[in-house]
């Protein structure tokens, strides 16, 4: 029997025992005993988590390390591909696993903090939120006039990642009037590169993505305007992000939440974002 096969049968045994012996699903004491915190982050999700020369880098990579440090644990990081929706990503990363029988993680970050979302994903427990995320538009000064609302966009082309929050927002905004403005790219990274190379005068994305891309490219901030989107369409233009653990590992979730709160309070969180040129906005009610 090969090593990986053994690991698969171990996993199966673990999930079978789940109902009888919750201890096996790694709440805090198990994680402590093992000494390792297994954290799942998205691949290709700059500035939060991506690879540079094969090595994980980004705000949430640093945040995961800081959380492991705070809990006095060794970090075991895995970058996972995003699936069709966040619900499925949590299923693969935290509680059911993938077809190949890959190891499960204890924590996943970059999870939406949303009451309805949490209710329908009863296998997971979400931590306190750590970030207020917002949709934004960057525009090249000189190439387009200043604008305050989407109504001011007119016929100006917009670079945008297809199938993204910004794409859904722009496709439905103003009764669909902006559809013909959109220049779709497979990833935000490609959209940002096109924008920075002078493609469209406007780039759509989350505020963090845009700031991170500008910073990574060393673009002078003076030449670029940044407008947050305020819109009453069907797509949320602002939401909070939190962490998630399996539902029977609440104590681990609380410990992670406490560590995040401390990092927000003492300014560490802001510093993590600043390192990547991204401004930090704590979640509402904070």
């Amino acid at each position: 029997m090969t090593r990986s096969l053994r690991r698969r049968s171990l996993l199966l045994a673990a999930s079978w025992l789940l109902s009888a012996a919750p201890a096996l699903s790694r709440p805090l004491d198990e994680v402590r005993a093992d000494g390792t915190l297994r954290v799942a982050l998205y691949d290709d999700n700059a500035p939060f988590s991506a690879r540079k020369d094969g090595k994980p880098t980004g705000i949430e990579v640093d945040l995961a390390q800081a959380l492991a440090d705070a809990l006095k644990l060794k970090l075991d990081l895995r970058l996972v591909d995003a699936g069709e929706n966040s619900d499925g990503d949590l299923r693969l990363a935290l509680w059911r696993g993938d077809l190949a029988g890959s190891a499960l993680s204890d924590v996943m970050l970059h999870v939406p903090a949303d009451r309805i979302f949490a209710q329908r994903n009863e296998q997971i427990f979400t931590t306190r939120p750590y970030l207020q995320q917002r949709l934004a538009l960057a525009w090249r000064k000189g190439a387009t006039e200043d604008f305050e609302t989407l109504g001011d966009v007119g016929k100006t082309p917009i670079d945008v990642e297809g199938n993204s929050a910004s794409d859904a927002m722009l496709l439905t905004a103003n009764g669909g009037q902006l559809r013909k403005n959109l220049k779709h790219f497979k990833t935000f990274d490609e959209a940002a590169k096109a924008f920075l190379a002078g493609d469209a005068p406007i780039l759509a994305g989350t505020r963090s993505e845009i700031e991170g891309a500008l910073s990574a490219a060393g673009t002078a901030k003076e030449g670029i305007g940044l407008t947050q989107v305020k819109l009453a369409g069907p797509i949320k233009t602002s939401w909070e992000l939190c962490g998630a653990v399996k539902s029977d590992s609440r104590d681990l979730g609380y410990a992670i939440g406490d560590a995040m709160t401390a990092m927000i309070d003492n300014g560490t969180m802001k510093g993590l974002f600043a390192k990547y040129g991204v401004s930090y906005e704590p979640p509402a009610g904070y």
Binding site: A100, I116, N163
Partner: protein, 600 residues
């Protein structure tokens, strides 16, 4: 470290070596002379429907009629049909066995879920070899772990894997000849259909895919695996022939707004059929993206369509769109089955398809011209009919709402109840045609769906516009409905009702029988003329595959893959109640008549 570069080891290697040893020339089973002369030929493939001694194609012939002239098993003798052997796929990977088996020269080839392939002695059920594809970590196939079958050509057997690879193996030894990427599984691509061999080329489509997918058909040299041509199915995209750009599909922006054609969907995930006389491949294309039709005004060609393609160069000969501007997830992938139709004293080279959208279409297969479309499920309400040009007469109030007009706290917009539901009046499971009865046999399902915009949806941790839906049975007592339909009139000749949804393919025979399976675990035989149920056998788990029949040592055999799974159990609600308690399994069953009865 890139986690996904670590692979699960193939457990098949040891079994493979053992299998190869038992296949040495000293093996006691004498192989027919034809086997020594280079395996399956082009002629074997073209003539498959007329040579009941083997099954070398998906569909029992390139036209996919699923008809065998064998008649030893008939309305009388079928009552005594008994199992001859059963072969277990083994291991923990039980679920989702949708494979149609192939038989050639004493070997039965059957694929299993999770990208496995088995070669079995077709007389005894003993395993000859087994191949387990190595599935990479992080693999995310969208819709279950199924595989629908393999293709035989010359000395090789071909099948596709869940991580979107095409594998060619030596049919005698199971040794891999080559392995090629169809696409990148990391982008959500997968492969579950049975490949098709046409004039020395292996023809495939693509399954799944997230944003960025555009369906395409590809032809490769079957011996080397090298690409000969590519045909994207969405307008504006350039085809490829012998490594050079060929022609554009359609005309940019004719039926798509802005640049949305670039990522327009149309996944070609169910393979196709082939008419050797007309030299045309017939393939279907999936729904357009994004799902909400309001975001992409226009017909969105050639999503939700049937295309006839020239196998020599990948040029589109004709296209027919069953659901222009699809808003209900009515994939147009369902098989197009060529047949000759007698109407008004003339023979028409026709083709028929039972679409997801609930209508049974008959087209002129030489030019794609519309002949007729009639409902094959009840209470269709997304359209009130199909007009004389083959275009749906939409019911606008049953199109899911415009998200930009959505109101209310959760901004769901208007929820509509549409029939059929997104799993379709008929799903992937193939229809059959009997040239004896001149009827088509359609394994259909009677269900609809509530569908609405779902704003509480997140992708990669960011808000996104999804669809919310609930599938609902149309009738209280059944969902599955096997119907015999006269293609000349569209009239239903008979119907068999099944409580659970039908998810298995059809087999028709010269013995006047129709075989199909049920999720409840039965392989059943019906009188092809009257629909009377004549025989059934419980295989111990749900049947969601296509049965075959073949002749061997002067006897007629029937075989079917067993193993509950596929898309149905992935959805809950009322439908789940009809399939609750069905056990998992993974096996192949072979049946024949007792010797005494057969010789009577």
């Amino acid at each position: 470290m890139r986690m996904r570069t670590q692979f699960l080891a193939a457990v098949g290697l040891a079994a493979l070596a053992a299998g190869a040893a038992s296949l040495s020339p000293s093996a006691k089973e004498p192989e027919p002379a034809a086997a020594l002369g280079g395996g399956v030929t082009e002629q074997d493939i073209i003539n498959d429907a007329k040579t009941p001694g083997d099954v070398v194609t998906y569909g029992l012939g390139p036209k996919g009629q699923r008809y065998s002239p064998l008649k030893a098993i008939d309305k009388e003798t079928v009552k005594t049909l008994v199992p001859a052997w059963s072969f277990s796929f083994g291991g923990e990977k039980q679920r989702g066995q949708e494979s149609q088996a192939l038989v050639k020269d004493g070997t039965l080839y059957v694929t299993g879920s999770y990208s496995r392939l088995y070669a079995v002695d077709s007389r005894t059920g003993e395993k000859k070899w087994e191949y387990n594809a190595r599935l990479p970590e992080g693999i995310l196939p969208c819709c279950d772990v199924v595989n629908r079958g393999a293709a035989l050509y010359k000395d090789n057997i071909y099948f596709g894997t869940l991580d979107a690879k095409l594998v060619a193996l030596n049919a005698k030894t199971g040794k891999v000849a080559w392995r090629k990427d169809i696409d990148d599984f990391k982008s959500g691509y997968s492969y579950t259909a049975a490949p098709m061999i046409v004039k020395g080329k292996i023809i495939t489509g693509v399954s799944g895919g997230e944003f960025g997918v555009v369906g395409r058909i590809e032809a490769r040299d079957a011996e080397t695996g090298e690409i000969v041509w590519k045909r994207p199915v969405i307008e504006g995209h350039m085809g490829e022939l012998n490594g050079k750009p060929s022609t554009m599909t359609g005309k940019t922006n004719e039926t798509w707004p802005g640049d949305m054609w670039k990522f327009g969907g149309g996944a070609t995930w169910l393979g196709g059929t082939y008419d050797p006389d007309l030299n045309m491949i017939y393939v279907g294309t999936g729904n357009p993206g994004p799902w909400n039709s309001w975001l992409r005004p226009g017909d969105n060609k050639w999503s939700a369509s049937r295309l006839a393609i020239n196998p020599d160069n990948g040029e589109i000969v004709w296209g027919f769109q069953t659901t222009p501007h699809d808003g209900w997830d009515f994939d147009g992938v369902n098989e197009f089955v060529p047949f000759d139709m007698q109407k008004d004293g003339k023979t028409i080279k026709a083709g028929a398809t039972a679409d997801r959208n609930g209508f049974f279409y008959v087209l002129d297969r030489t030019n794609g011209k519309f002949i007729s479309a009639t409902p094959f499920v009840n209470k269709i309400n997304w359209a009130s009919g199909i007009d004389k040009d083959g275009r749906p007469i939409y019911n606008p109030e049953n199109r899911p709402g415009d998200p930009s007009q959505a109101t209310g706290d959760e901004k769901k917009g208007k929820s509509v109840f549409a029939v059929p539901g997104f799993l379709g009046g008929k799903n992937w499971n193939p229809i059959g045609y009997s040239p004896d009865t001149k009827l088509f046999y359609i394994p259909s399902n009677e269900w609809g769906m509530d569908i609405w915009n779902e704003p509480v949806n997140y992708k990669k941790g960011a808000a996104y516009l999804g669809a919310g839906f609930t599938i609902k049975p149309t009738f209280e007592d059944h969902i599955g409905s096997l119907k015999a339909i006269d293609p000349a009139t569209g009239k239903v000749a008979w119907e068999y009702k099944n409580k659970a949804p039908l998810w298995a393919g059809i087999l028709t025979t010269g013995g006047g029988l129709v075989f199909t399976g049920t999720p409840e675990g039965f392989l059943k035989a019906f009188d092809a003329k009257t629909g009377e149920e004549l025989w059934k056998f419980q295989v111990g788990t749900g049947v969601v595959s296509s049965p075959i029949t073949w002749e061997q040592d002067g006897e007629q055999w029937v075989g079917v893959t067993a193993g509950w799974g596929g898309a149905v159990p992935l959805w809950g609600g009322e439908v789940a109640k009809t399939t609750a308690g069905i056990n998992q399994g993974g096996s192949f069953w072979a049946f024949k008549l007792p010797k005494k009865v057969a010789s009577r």
